[in-house]
């Protein structure tokens, strides 16, 4: 009986873990992005250049 219950909950647990991992990944990516833009030379320039290209197209 307990074995059947375990197998029933396993997919839910896996899904929850996947979601948690995904949110952790996003949080780490965001922090890394902020630090890279602030402290790695040239990253802010690249971001601005890319944004300028997008804006130029969007504003036409």
């Amino acid at each position: 009986m307990s074995g059947s219950s375990k197998s029933h909950h396993a997919p839910d647990d896996n899904r929850r873990k996947t979601v948690t991992h995904f949110y952790k990944f996003i949080a780490i990516a965001l922090v890394t992005t902020v630090l890279a833009v602030l402290f790695i030379p040239g990253v802010d320039e690249f971001i601005e250049q890319t944004f300028q290209r997008y804006l130029g197209r969007a504003a036409r």
């Binding site: 965001l30 833009v37 802010d44 320039e45 971001i47 601005e48 944004f51 804006l55 969007a58 036409r60």
Partner: protein, 173 residues
């Protein structure tokens, strides 16, 4: 429906990364002495303040962009500039589009309070921006613009409000 919601959440989370990069870069530029490309910079601090009579603005033919700061709000940006008949002019395109109006806030601010500081080749000039929205002078100004830059600015575009042109007049005026 649940799948759609999940996909939407994932897409939004992933979009958050480039948005964060752009916002961070823009915030960083606000603390700098002057602008870079599209992001506004802080007040123009360095550079000697020009005193005396106006220079011959013809030297601008060799300069692609200048730095312009309004006193209110005290933010700076890099813009195109040209001279015509001994006077200096700046302008802003895309003013007829929604994205353009969101992007280009300085022309609206400048029309409200035209006090400005320019920095050209490391020298700062205290000036007053005066909008020109009609008149025969626009033929000469737009001609100067199109001969200097790959721009299709026309008098009709200025008079329609798609392009806002400002004379960069002496502050005392």
């Amino acid at each position: 429906m649940q799948v759609v919601t999940r996909v939407l959440v994932v897409v939004l989370c992933l979009l958050l990364i480039p948005v964060t990069a752009v916002v961070t870069a823009a915030m960083k530029q606000r603390f700098a002495d002057g602008p870079n490309r599209v992001f506004s910079g802080g007040p123009l601090v360095s550079g000697a303040l020009h005193a005396g009579p106006d220079p011959d603005w013809a030297f601008l033919d060799e300069i692609a962009t200048i730095e312009l700061q309004l006193l209110d709000p005290p933010r700076s940006r890099r813009i195109w500039a040209t001279d015509h008949a001994g006077k200096l002019y700046v302008w802003s395109g895309y003013m007829g589009t929604t994205v353009g109006r969101l992007w280009k806030r300085w022309p609206v601010d400048a029309e409200r309070d035209g006090r400005a500081i320019l920095r050209i080749d490391g020298t700062r000039y205290e000036r007053q921006l005066v909008r020109i929205s009609s008149g025969n002078i626009l033929d000469g100004i737009t001609s100067a613009i199109t001969s200097k830059y790959p721009s299709r600015t026309t008098r009709a575009a200025v008079e329609a409000g798609d392009v806002w042109v400002f004379e960069v007049a002496p502050r005392s005026r």
